[in-house]
Amino acid sequence: MDLGLVLSTLDATLRLSTPLLLACLAGLYSERAGVFDIGLEGKMLASAFAAAAVAAVTANVWLGLLAGLAVSITTAGLQGAAAITLRGNQLIAGVAINMLAAGLTTFLGIQWFGQGGRTPQLPVSGRFQNIDLPFANELAGVPVVGQIYSELISGHNILVYIAFLAVPITWWVLYRTRFGLRLRAVGENPKAVDTAGISVTRLRYQAVLITGFLCGLAGAFFSIAQGSGFGNNMTAGKGFIALAALIFAKWKPVPAMFTCLLFGFLDALQIRLQGTSIFGVGVPVQAIQALPYILTVILLAGFIGKAVGPKAGGVAYTKER
């Protein structure tokens, strides 16, 4: 394999891992606060639709992004109301959100745009364009380092950079701020947090809304950055891969990034390998597609390492009176 091929595969890896990473970090906030979220997929899908719909009508990518964020955060709020205030089953809330998003996006899409659920093709101003970092063109001639800079690091849309920037920020928030300490504490032992006079409900809502925000970015990435318009079920199970990545990364931000890169790489590899063979043996693409899920099952079962989630995860907190 020559460097160009490697670079283009890695370039695709960065692009494919971006929504995974955003959704994975989204899930991290919520689950670290003790709210299981299997509704990442639904929030992304809702955001992808809202972003594309608004961007298509206004031809303004930023308004599209705002709409995506607003819808995703609202959905997260609804899920929060069910899981936190009404102390309902968090898993069932997630299932409902996924289904609601799948149904409503298609239904409204058909109704509004009449293209079988697709939104119209977005104009240039309705999409995030790729950004050339400074000196990318000048350095392209420099062997290896310059090539890596200009082909791999430069030339992505802004959401890609935001996603990878969100990793150190999340790390800092989680491990170096008072909010992060409380967030982690509320996922492990909400009673202790409550005893310290801090509102468990408030903290969990904050976490869930951050989840909504990040899912909103992830969803917008699908429809107004990577693609140019919304298509039915365009998130295609990526929310569940993100969930798998979250478990695989043991609910930690930096490992989350590497896991998402790995899963993104598998995806890129799978696209590249369509119809080819490695070492003369045809590897079915389905095997590579299923690999993230299989790895997660194996890890979760403790056959390679052990993934133990936040202790208070999935349990609604009832304040004693």
Binding site: A82, A83, I92, G103, T296
Partner: protein
């Protein structure tokens, strides 16, 4: 007073009133969505009801969908009684198709009443295996059954695409599907016995679904194992102290749950499609969650809820022809709202209802009067 201990609802309110209120709320919210996009919700409802029950043809299709939902609803309910949330009905129903087609094709020239029981066993075995593995992983390795079953849905989907495209697809056929089953090996349609149903997809598998409902009732409430699994669902510590093997119960329950979901494959492969196609489950596994929640995990409730959702699916199909612009995805929205309100937002109505019932109950009234008189006396 908010600090007062609320008494549990009377049984009829819990199993009848609450689901109806939640369903009504789901319909009202969906109606508002329809209204918001400038359509008439009542006309839509009318189209759905007519499309589902209007004549034997429509009702036949309603029952065909209901058959699938009875299986997946039972799959969720059986697991729920043991305190397990089987979200993997989709994958179990899907992969079971491999078992069904593996026996249906070689035996296709035998009469259907020989193929049928063998197909049931094969479907149950493969679907059951797909439930057993997550159950085993939860029981022995401590991995959460919800996450594992989600992952298993995707793994099943990948395996099925591979198997259908690379293994089962006969040469010379472009569409990704297996060879057709000969007419002898196909399940008779109910229209063959009851002409009213005409040539609709509802087939003999419906009888199997009804048998499963009765069987589940007996299993859950009238057997020693049923007692053990309900006890596990209520209090795993207690069952362990009582000397039951929790991990054994979990594994058996998940296997049964997967086997029940696998019966969808029997309905689809030998009852309707007569071949193995891709994505024939069409999220029936998720509908099963709504069915089990609505039906309060009771076979009678599941029967009614499965017919309700079957009607919604069939009516939703007709809806788009009656009112252009209203697509069948409306039904997915209603279903999602039912899951949201009955499953995740149960707290919406329950405390209020409990308060109403407390103030209405005679003892409570007497207590309140007494409390009042004491207060006025002092």
């Amino acid at each position: 007073m908010s600090s007062a201990i609320l008494k549990p609802l009377p049984r009829w309110a819990d199993v009848v009133l609450l689901p109806i209120l939640n369903l009504a709320l789901a319909f009202i919210v969906s109606g508002l969505v329809v209204l918001a996009i400038g359509q008439d919700p009542l006309a839509a409802l009318n189209a759905i009801v007519t499309g589902a029950f209007g004549n034997g043809y429509n009702f036949g299709y309603t029952l065909y969908y209901s058959t699938n939902f009875m299986f997946t609803g039972l799959a969720v309910a059986v697991a729920a009684h043991a305190g397990l949330f089987n979200i993997g009905g989709n994958g179990q129903a899907y992969i079971a198709g491999l078992g069904v087609i593996a026996v249906a094709l070689p035996l296709q020239f035998l009469p259907w009443w020989i193929t049928f029981p063998i197909a049931i066993v094969a479907g149950a075995a493969v679907g059951g295996l797909w439930g057993f593995i997550p159950g085993w992983l939860q029981a022995k390795r401590g991995s959460h059954v919800v996450i594992t079953t989600i992952m298993f849905n995707f793994i099943a989907a990948a395996i099925m695409v591979y198997m259908v495209v690379n293994v089962l697809k006969p040469a010379g056929i472009l569409a990704p599907e297996s060879a057709m089953i000969a007419p002898e090996g196909r399940m008779p349609k109910l229209g063959a016995f009851i002409p009213w149903f005409k040539n609709t997809d509802v087939n003999f598998t419906l009888v199997l679904a009804l048998v499963c409902l009765v069987g589940a009732y007996i299993l859950i409430w009238h057997t020693r194992f049923g007692f053990a699994m309900r006890a596990l669902g209520q209090n795993p510590t207690a069952t362990r102290y009582a000397g039951m093997s929790n991990s054994r119960i979990i594994m058996i329950v998940m296997t049964m749950s997967g086997a029940l979901a696998g019966m969808v494959a029997v309905n689809q492969v030998v009852g309707v499609q007569y071949r193995l196609v891709l994505d024939y489950v069409a999220d029936a596994g998720f509908v099963g969650i709504a069915v089990a929640l609505m039906g309060r995990n009771h076979p009678v409730g599941i029967l009614l809820a499965a017919v309700l959702f079957g009607a919604l699916y069939q009516g939703g199909n007709e809806l788009q022809y009656v009112i252009p612009g209203l697509s069948k995805e409306m039904v997915v929205v209603i279903q999602a709202l039912v899951i949201l309100f009955t499953g995740a937002m149960e707290g919406l109505f329950r405390p209020g209802l409990q308060r109403i019932f407390m103030t209405l109950s005679p003892q409570q009234k007497a207590g309140a009067i007494e409390a009042n008189s004491v207060k006025s006396g002092s």
